[in-house]
């Protein structure tokens, strides 16, 4: 069960009780958007069996002095999955500098930062023993109107593929667990 972040609860409480500054309005709207996206993602998660997974919601991490949000962190016995949720709409492309741009050629998402985010987690998520669980980072586009033209990237996961991806995570977690703990006879 997901809990609403305390900061959002406070913003909701103060809304209409106190005049918000422009920055506060922007932050409040961004948090509401994140809440909505996480709610949408949770709907997909509810369709799979999550007993073999640990799920952490809404982690804020500092990468190169800038705050990055990892909306969902799923930990299985064999892998860490990081999901960053976005709701970009329309056609997009990845430019030669590895930046996701919309068709007005405005930068939307710097994909180079995914590497930094990935490295940061790799330094932190250290397993004991020989086996180091791989870390998989995915930008989930929670909008069915999102289209990627030209160069593709494995970093992206579209909403229509999400149920299959989550099902695969569920399946892999169960199968591997069986292999590791054979039933005693």
């Amino acid at each position: 069960m997901r809990n609403k972040p305390d900061r959002l609860k406070v913003y909701e409480f103060l809304y209409d009780r106190l005049p918000f500054s422009e920055n506060e309005v922007v932050e409040y709207e961004a948090m509401q958007r994140m809440e909505r996206l996480e709610g949408q993602f949770e709907q997909y998660l509810m369709k799979i069996k999550t007993s073999n997974m640990l799920i952490h919601w809404h982690a804020e991490v500092l990468v190169d002095k800038r705050l990055e949000i990892v909306n969902v962190l799923i930990v299985t016995d064999y892998c860490y999955y990081l999901f960053v949720l976005h709701d970009q709409e329309g056609e997009h492309y990845i430019n030669p500098f590895n930046i996701l741009c919309n068709m007005s050629h405005e930068a939307v998402l710097d994909l180079n930062r995914s590497r930094r985010l990935f490295d940061m987690f790799r330094e932190q998520l250290i397993d004991e023993g020989k086996y180091q669980r791989p870390i998989i980072l995915k930008y989930v586009m929670m909008n069915k109107a999102f289209k990627l033209k030209g160069k593709r990237s494995d970093l992206f996961l579209e909403e229509e593929d999400l149920p299959y991806y989550l099902k695969a995570i569920e399946h892999s977690a169960v199968i591997r667990k069986k292999n590791h703990h054979p039933a005693s006879t």
Binding site: D6, V10, E12, F13, L14, Y15, D16, R17, L18
Partner: protein, 109 residues
Amino acid sequence: MMLRARVPLPIITRNIRRGIKCRRCHAFGWQTIGGSIGKCSSCGQVESVQMVARDYFSKLDLLYPDDIYKRRDIMDHLNLSISEYTLQKVIRSNFKRLGHHKRIYFFSP
């Protein structure tokens, strides 16, 4: 134990509006319609007074943890016309007495 001096909440000095908001539409028109239930005059959402009071004070507690309230403060915060019986129910289910003081409470649902 020394009792903390009752200073006005910083929330008041910053002119934060007290009172119950609708949890769905955030409008201030929430009013009681029966013994212990209320309705939003904007969107029509119906909820129990106890539920909205708990929600209100839990969020206030996030802003000002460990604050203490007199009975009068609780009534001022809720700003609802409720019976003594309902107010007692709200206090009993959401607050605990501070030490042996009769009418001083802290939020503890």
